[in-house]
Amino acid sequence: FMCSALVSRIIATQHSSRIIATQRSSRIIATRHSNCEIRTLHTTPCYHDNETHFGYQTIPESEKEGRVKEVFERVADSYDVMNDTMSLGVHRLWKDHFVKSAAPKPNYKCLDVAGGTGDIAFKLHKHMSNITRDCEKIVVCDINTEMLRVGQDRAEEMGTGDNYIWMEGNAEQLDLPDNTFDLYTIAYGIRNCTHIDKVLEEAYRVLKPGGRFMCLEFSEVNNPVISQVYDKYSHDVIPVLGQVIAGDFESYQYLVESIRKFPNQETFAEMIAAAGFEIVEYENLTFGVTAIHSGYKL
C-alpha cells in the first residue's frame, strides 16, 4: 500500500547513491584484496589463538556455536514478534528489497542459509510463483531446530509447506554437493557464525558457476547523528523490549553487541572477494543500518 511504497522509494534512493555498481570498481575490490589489510569495525582486540567474541564478551572459539544455538533456542518463539517490534516493521521492507534484488527465476535452485523461521524463503517462493506456479523447491538450512520448527509451522499454516526443504545444518560445513545452487542467500545469520571465512568458502563451493551469493546483514551507520540515535536505541531500548516481550534481556543484548562486532561494509566486501567471488557489490539500506552484499561465482 501507499506507505510502504513511499518508504521503499526512500530505501531505493539510498540505493542509487551508494552502490558500487560498475564492473571496474568491483574488479578493483576483487583483485586488490591481497594488498589490503582487513579492517574491523572497532580496533582489533587481542584475541588469543582460540578465542573469539560473543557480543562484547571474549569466549573460547569452541564455545561460540553452542552459545549462539542457546540464544536462538530461547528466542525462536518470539523471534518474529521481536523483529517487528524492534524494527517497527521495517525489517519486512528490507527483506522485500533483498528478494527483489535477488530476483530469482522460477527454475533457480535456491538455498537460504540461517533461514530458520522462513521469512526469506517465503518471499523467494512468492517471487518465483508470481511468474509461474511450477517452481523449484527452496532449501532452508539452519543450525537450530527450534527456529526451523517455527518456520515449518508457519509454512503449514500458509498451506505452502510442500515448497520447502527444511534442513538442519552448519553454514561452515554444509552437507550439500558442490556446484548445485543458482542463488545462496543468508539474511541476518552470518554475523552469528564463528568463522565467516568458512561460511563464504562453503557458499562458493555449493554455488554453480554463474551462481550468486547474497547477504543481508546489519552493518555500520556512518552518519554521525543517526548513529548516535541508533546506538542509544540499540543499547537501551532493544534489550528492554527483549525482557518485556520475550522475557530474555541477555539474548537481545547479545544480538545488539554482535552487530557492533561484525565487519563493516567495505571489510565484509573484501572478505567476500577473498573467498573467490567476483563483481562484489554492496548496497546500504536505511543509512547503513542494514546492507546487502552480493557476489558472483564466475
Binding site: L241, Q243, G247, F249
Partner: protein
C-alpha cells in the same frame, strides 16, 4: 546479574509495569518491576535487618529456600502443632514447590539477597496468614507485604482492584482474622 544504566532501568520499569498489567500471568515481569523499582525499599529493609539480631544472622548466613534446601520428607513427618507441618500442608495441597525467580537486576549483592529472601518468604506468609492462592487472596497478601516491605511492586499488585471485588469479603476476612489474633 545484569547491570542497567539509568535509561534501561527506567524503560524496563515502565515496560514491565505495562506488561504485567496487560498480562497478569507474566510473573517474571512483576519480578522485574520489583527489582527495577525496589532499591529504596530494599535498602530500608536491609537497614532494619542489620539492627535486629535475627536479621543480622540471616544476612550473614544468607539461607535459601529452594527445591534443594527444603527437606519435604522431614516436614511431612512433623507434628500438627508445628509451623513446618502447616507449611508442608499448604505447599502440597496447592501443588507448589519452593522455586522463585532469580534476582537479575539488583546490582548490590546484599540487596539482591534481601529481594531473594523476600520472594522465598512469600509461602511462609501464606502459611502464617492462612491466605490461599486464589487471585483475591494473593492480592490481600500483597497488601500485607506492601505494608511490611514498602516495595512499590507490591503497591502495584495491591491496587489491582479489578480482581479483588468479587471475593473481597473472603480474602479480607482471612487477613483481618490473622491481624486480630
Amino acid at each position: 546479574m545484569i547491570r542497567l544504566n539509568v535509561t534501561q532501568r527506567a524503560l524496563l520499569a515502565a515496560g514491565s509495569a505495562v506488561g504485567a498489567l496487560a498480562n497478569p500471568l507474566r510473573g517474571d515481569l512483576v519480578a522485574t518491576l520489583g527489582e527495577t523499582t525496589g532499591t529504596a525499599a530494599l535498602t530500608h529493609m536491609h537497614d532494619k535487618m542489620m539492627m535486629n539480631k535475627t536479621g543480622l544472622e540471616i544476612l550473614k548466613e544468607k539461607p535459601r529456600v529452594t527445591k534443594h534446601t527444603v527437606d519435604t520428607e522431614y516436614l511431612s513427618n512433623l507434628p500438627s502443632n508445628t509451623f513446618g507441618h502447616h507449611y508442608y500442608q499448604f505447599m502440597t495441597s496447592n501443588g507448589l514447590s519452593a522455586q522463585r525467580a532469580q534476582t537479575k537486576f539488583v546490582e548490590d549483592e546484599e540487596l539482591a539477597y534481601v529481594m531473594t529472601r523476600y520472594r522465598e518468604n512469600h509461602d511462609f506468609l501464606h502459611t502464617l496468614t492462612g491466605l490461599g492462592v486464589t487471585v483475591p487472596e494473593e492480592i490481600c497478601l500483597k497488601w500485607y507485604e506492601m505494608v511490611q516491605t514498602e516495595l512499590p511492586m507490591c503497591a502495584l499488585s495491591a491496587s489491582s482492584v479489578q480482581y479483588l471485588l468479587p471475593s473481597l469479603r473472603k480474602g479480607f476476612s482471612c487477613l483481618i482474622k490473622y491481624l486480630g489474633v
